[in-house]
C-alpha cells in the first residue's frame, strides 16, 4: 500500500512536468491547429538557461526560473514570427515539416555551440527527504508540485479573466470571426506561443532540478510524451492537458515500478494509438462532426 502512495508521489512530480509542457502544446494546437514539434526543444532551452543562470550567474532558483521563462517566451515568439507566421495559409503538412525543421535547428544549434554531452544541473536547493510513515517525499518534489500548481492557477486566471485570455479563446473557436470582431489575431497567437514557451521552460528548469542532468536532446522524448498527454486529455483543452499530463506521469511511473521500465516509452505510445482509435477527441473532448 505504501509503495502505491510512493509511486503516486513520484508519478505526480513527473506528471506535473508533462502537464506544463502539454499546456503549451494544447494551447498552440487549439489556436492554430499546429503540433509544435519544437515545443520540446523550448523546454530543453529553458533547462539550459536555468543551468546558465544558476551555475554561471549564481542566481537562486526563483529568479533563474523567472528569467529563463521570460527568455524562452521571447524565443517562442521569435520562432512563431519567423517560421510559422509565413505559413499561416499553407497546408498542414508544410507547417508540420517546418515545425520539425525548427525542432532540429534548435537541437543542432545547441549541439554545435555547447556540445552534445550531458551536463550536471546545479543543486539550486539542498535536497531534503521527508519521511511520512514509509512514504518518502523530497523537498524538490514538493517544489515541483507547488510551482506547477501555482503556474496553472496563473494560466487559468489569464485565460479566463483577462482580455487577452478572452481573445485567445475567441481565436481558438473561430479565427475569422475573431478577426472581424476586431481582435488582433497575430498578436494573440504570439501571446499564446509566449505563454506556452514560458511554461515549457519552467518545466525544463524543474526537470533539471529533479533529475540533475540536462543535454541538448532531452526535449525530444518528453516533448512527444507531453503531446500524447495533450491528446489523451483532449487536445485544445487546458484542463485536458493537465489531466493528461498527470495521467501519463502516473502511468509511466507505475509501469516502471511493476518492473517493465524498459517498456515505459512503448507503453505511452501504445496509449496514444489506443486513444486515437477509441476516442480521438480525448478524455474530456466532445465529438465534433466534420462538416463537408
Amino acid at each position: 500500500m505504501s509503495s502505491i502512495f510512493q509511486q503516486l508521489i513520484n508519478g505526480i512530480s513527473l506528471g506535473s512536468i508533462y502537464a506544463l509542457i502539454a499546456l503549451g502544446y494544447t494551447m498552440v494546437y487549439g489556436i492554430i491547429k499546429l503540433i509544435n514539434f519544437a515545443h520540446g526543444d523550448i523546454y530543453m532551452i529553458g533547462a539550459f538557461l536555468g543551468y546558465y543562470f544558476i551555475n554561471t550567474l549564481h542566481l537562486s532558483l526563483i529568479p533563474a526560473l523567472l528569467l529563463s521563462m521570460v527568455i524562452s517566451a521571447l524565443l517562442g515568439v521569435v520562432t512563431e514570427f519567423l517560421a510559422y507566421r509565413p505559413l499561416r495559409n499553407s497546408t498542414r503538412i508544410a507547417v508540420l515539416i517546418t515545425a520539425i525543421g525548427v525542432s532540429f535547428l534548435l537541437e543542432n544549434l545547441m549541439i554545435y555551440f555547447f556540445g552534445s554531452n550531458v551536463r550536471a544541473f546545479p543543486q539550486a536547493i539542498e535536497k531534503k527527504v521527508y519521511t511520512l510513515g514509509s512514504v518518502q517525499i523530497s523537498n524538490i518534489q514538493l517544489v515541483i508540485i507547488f510551482i506547477t500548481l501555482f503556474l496553472m492557477i496563473c494560466l487559468q486566471f489569464i485565460v479566463q479573466k483577462t482580455k487577452m485570455g478572452k481573445a485567445m479563446r475567441a481565436v481558438s473557436v473561430d479565427t475569422d470571426a475573431a478577426r472581424l470582431m476586431g481582435i488582433n489575431v497575430d498578436l494573440t497567437i504570439s501571446f499564446t506561443f509566449a505563454i506556452g514557451s514560458a511554461l515549457a521552460a519552467a518545466g525544463g528548469v524543474l526537470i533539471g532540478l529533479y533529475y540533475n542532468s540536462i543535454n541538448p536532446l532531452m526535449g525530444v522524448v518528453p516533448g512527444l510524451k507531453a503531446f500524447i498527454a495533450a491528446v489523451l486529455g483532449g487536445i485544445g483543452l487546458i484542463p485536458g492537458a493537465v489531466l493528461g499530463g498527470f495521467a501519463i506521469g502516473i502511468l509511466e511511473t507505475i509501469v516502471s515500478a511493476l518492473g517493465f521500465s524498459v517498456f515505459k516509452d512503448a507503453f505511452v505510445y501504445a496509449i496514444l494509438i489506443i486513444i486515437l482509435l477509441i476516442k480521438p477527441s480525448g478524455l474530456l473532448g466532445k465529438n465534433v462532426k466534420e462538416k463537408v
Binding site: 505559413l87 503538412i93 508544410a94 525543421g101 535547428l105 512527444l224 524498459v262 505510445y269 501504445a270 494509438i273
Partner: protein, 331 residues
C-alpha cells in the same frame, strides 16, 4: 499500351548507361572504396525516399515511421543472414523483412490511416518507436547492443545489388502510381472528400500506398544491414525518419525525379561536409524551414522528368518551326 515503346527503351537505355558509367568509373578508380560507400548509401536512401514519397507525395499521408519499417527489414536480414550466410539466407532475409513489414504496416495502417494529417504523423512515429523498443528488448535481436558481423553480400559487388534494387523498387512504385489504383491514390491527396464521393475506397488506397512504402523501406533496411554489417536500434530512431523526410521534401513532395536528385545531392554533400558534422545538421534544418516557407511543395514540386515530355517538346518545337501559324495545335 505496348510495353516495348520508345519511352521504355529510353529508360532502359538510361539505366544501362548509368550502370556502365558507374562500372567504368569504379574500374578506372575515379570512384574508390570510400566513394563507393557514398554510392551505396545514396542507393539505399533513394529506395527509402521513393517509398516515403509514395506515402507522402502520392497518397498525401504524413508518415514519420519510415525508420521503423527499415529496422524490420534490417533485423530480418541480420538475423537470417547471420544464421545462414548463403545466398538462400540473404533471399530469406529480404522475404521475411518484406512479409513482416507488410503485415505490420497493414495492421497499423488500417486503424491509423483513418486519422487525418498530423494525428497520423504522431501515430506512425509512435509505431516506429514501439518497434524500436521491442527490438531493444528482444533476445533474438540482441537488445541495445545490436547485431554485428552480418556478412557482406559477395556474389556481386554491393553497389550493383543496390543498383538493381533501386531499379526494381522504382519501377514497381512508378508503375503503381501510373496504374488506375495509383490514380485513385493521387485523388486522395488532391481532395479526400471529393475522392470518397466519387466512390473511391480511400482507406483501401491509403493502406495500399502505406504498405508498399513500408515494404520498400524494409528492402532498404535489409541492404543496409548486409552492407554495414552492424546494426543497432539507435540507427533507426526518429532522426532517421526525419533524414528520409528531408530527402523527399528537398526533392519535391510527389516528384520521384526530385527524390533521386535530392538523394544524390545530399549524399554527395554528406560526404563532402563530413568534417563539419554538427554544423551540417544546422544547415539542413535551416534549409528545411526555408524551403517550406518559400516553396512548400519542395524544390521540384511535383514535376517529373520523362522522355515522353521531352519528345513532346521536340515535336512541338519542330512543328512550330515548320508552320508558325499552327503553333497553337491542341494535343
Amino acid at each position: 499500351m505496348k510495353i516495348f515503346n520508345r519511352n521504355n527503351f529510353c529508360w532502359l537505355g538510361l539505366i544501362a548507361f548509368s550502370f556502365i558509367l558507374l562500372s567504368v568509373l569504379i574500374n578506372i578508380g575515379v570512384i574508390d572504396t570510400f566513394y563507393e560507400m557514398t554510392l551505396v548509401s545514396i542507393g539505399i536512401n533513394i529506395i527509402l525516399g521513393v517509398g516515403l514519397n509514395l506515402i507522402l507525395g502520392v497518397s498525401g499521408q504524413f508518415s514519420l515511421g519510415h525508420a521503423g519499417f527499415m529496422a524490420i527489414g534490417a533485423y530480418s536480414m541480420g538475423i537470417s543472414y547471420l544464421k545462414y550466410p548463403t545466398m538462400a539466407g540473404f533471399a530469406l532475409g529480404i522475404v521475411i523483412g518484406l512479409i513482416l513489414s507488410g503485415i505490420v504496416a497493414l495492421l497499423v495502417g488500417i486503424p491509423t490511416l483513418r486519422l487525418k494529417g498530423d494525428y497520423l504523423a504522431i501515430a506512425t512515429l509512435g509505431v516506429a518507436e514501439i518497434i524500436r523498443v521491442l527490438i531493444i528488448n528482444m533476445k533474438i535481436t540482441n537488445g541495445a547492443a545490436g547485431l554485428s558481423g552480418v556478412p557482406l553480400f559477395d556474389a556481386i559487388p554491393m553497389w550493383q545489388l543496390v543498383f538493381i534494387f533501386v531499379v526494381i523498387t522504382t519501377v514497381i512504385i512508378l508503375n503503381y502510381v501510373k496504374s488506375s489504383d495509383g490514380r485513385a491514390t493521387l485523388s486522395i491527396r488532391e481532395d479526400e472528400i471529393a475522392a470518397e464521393s466519387m466512390g473511391i475506397n480511400t482507406t483501401k488506397y491509403k493502406v495500399l500506398a502505406f504498405v508498399i512504402g513500408a515494404m520498400t523501406a524494409s528492402i532498404a533496411g535489409a541492404l543496409y544491414a548486409s552492407y554495414y554489417g552492424t546494426i543497432v536500434p539507435t540507427n533507426f530512431n526518429f532522426m532517421k525518419s526525419v533524414d528520409i523526410l528531408i530527402i523527399v521534401v528537398f526533392g519535391g513532395i510527389g516528384s520521384f525525379t526530385g527524390t533521386f536528385l535530392a538523394a544524390v545531392v545530399l549524399g554527395i554533400l554528406n560526404t563532402v561536409l563530413q568534417d563539419i558534422g554538427d554544423l551540417r545538421m544546422v544547415v539542413y534544418s535551416l534549409a528545411l524551414i526555408i524551403i517550406m516557407i518559400f516553396k512548400p511543395s519542395g524544390l521540384l514540386g511535383t514535376k517529373e522528368f520523362t522522355f515522353s515530355a521531352l519528345f513532346h517538346k521536340k515535336n512541338r518545337l519542330s512543328k512550330k518551326k515548320g508552320d508558325p501559324a499552327d503553333g497553337s495545335i491542341k494535343h
